[in-house]
């Protein structure tokens, strides 16, 4: 990684204190987003989520203009960007030290991204053996405590499998390791409630808004594995992939559906509008 593409509190160099509380405890939050045409896409929802997650942890959220300025410094016209806010460096134990400042990391990566065919032709997903823990106090937040996602993602290395789906101990389907899930049945688009676990992606929020605006009934509620198997359409969302229709999940096959296509077009239009 080019250290010039990482700013730590506005300074290039890409290093942080080894005992920053972000590393010591995962005491912080982050966002991953796409920059295209020099603009961070879906920015207002990303910043809103970042601010909400900071508030949940009683962290000062960086001002929006500061982040936008730093994104423009590190990110080329087409990039993946990551923003991290940690509690900062100071103290040793769990007690919150007084008078320390948050650490702000703004980084840019080459847009990988993924093969375009995953959006057009759909992907194969699997069901992970990993079962997500439930913590209502942190559910939905994108904190730096992401070891569950790492270990769930480590369950497979077949490049033909694009994503793994995760459920909780209550038999509910929650999300993908790096994405949110939607299922469509009889024209209704449903995405799992994230009241107990899971990460509420900015793309998920946008897809809910865009589909609703276009007259699709959307629901946020608990969802069972049987409902996923029985769906007319299944698709995945995140800020880098956009919308990936799922065409295979274990032994179930799905067609690429009209609602997934609608969501893809709606995102393109929303990104094009300034």
């Amino acid at each position: 990684m080019d250290a010039g593409r990482v700013l730590v509190d506005g300074e290039p160099g890409g290093r942080v204190a080894a005992l920053d509380r972000g590393l010591a405890f995962g005491d912080g939050v982050f966002r991953t987003l796409r920059v295209s045409g020099g603009r961070p896409l879906n920015w207002s929802r990303h910043y809103e989520r970042l601010r909400a997650d900071c508030a949940l942890l009683a962290l000062d959220a960086p001002p929006e203009a500061l982040l936008l300025g730093e994104l423009s410094r590190v990110a080329p016209a087409e990039a993946v960007a990551k923003i991290i806010v940690t509690r900062g460096a100071g103290g040793r134990g769990y007690s919150l030290p007084s008078g320390i400042a948050t650490t702000r990391i703004v980084a840019a990566f080459d847009p990988p991204l993924h093969p375009r065919e995953r959006a057009t032709e759909g992907v194969t997903a699997r069901r992970c053996a990993w079962v997500l823990s439930q913590q209502p106090r942190l559910a939905g937040a994108k904190t730096l405590n992401r070891l569950e996602n790492v270990l769930a993602r480590a369950e497979w290395d077949d490049p033909e499998i694009a994503e793994g789906l995760l459920g909780d101990a209550g038999g509910r389907v929650i999300e993908g390791t790096m994405s949110n899930l939607f299922v469509v049945k009889a024209g209704v688009a449903t995405t799992p409630s994230l009241d107990r676990c899971g990460v509420a992606g900015a793309q998920r929020a946008r897809v809910i808004d865009l589909l609703t605006t276009r007259g699709v009934r959307t629901e946020v509620r608990d969802l069972s594995w049987d409902e996923v198997a029985d769906a007319d359409e299944v698709f995945l969302t995140n800020s880098l992939i956009g919308v990936w229709p799922v065409t295979a999940l274990e032994d179930v096959r799905y067609a690429v559906g009209a609602i997934a296509r609608m969501a893809q077009r709606a995102i393109e239009e929303d990104d094009a509008a300034v």
Copy 2:
């Protein structure tokens, strides 16, 4: 903090890559221990736990001799030491990148420690409102995903309250925010099972061993809040505090008991033996 007292992969300076996976995801493990007379106390149990936790995350554990050498470089005769092993720097998403090396952090702090009276006269503890999430796959491990401990510890700032106790959603008592819990009833010392959540401290393991050796019956099993309230003795253990008898927990009062005293003496003897 004196940067000379932090080694990162053996080098002084105290900085790590801002996007180290330890910070990005909490993808790593750690130990906190006490150094006294120039020796890391209870070392064999610490190293055993570190190696087990590394194995759980499929991380290469640093060789024991390497860690001991680095501890002797950074830690004065009396110190608190912290060892962190992360997945390392590399990749962006949750997938495990190939060919990256772990990051090894060895740091020393002044021994705070805590007022000696906490061990001799006992402490006041509280019951935290925070409810621990349950993740059997990670239970017992000391991973860098410690946001729950941070937020539980943030519930109070009364310096007279030395520790907060945490339970799970099943009504079981698990641990303190930074310590393990023992209760004594009718001469039997019981510490909660850590099969669903909690951190299995090296001091807890030692206290179980030392009490057992001295003829005290010890049990590791699920424990209810009612059993804690009804106990003859309650005490807390970790590698920095040793053993703190609890003399007040919410509206219940306890005497400093014989088993807590026995555990304190046994630890002193064990630390003195070379």
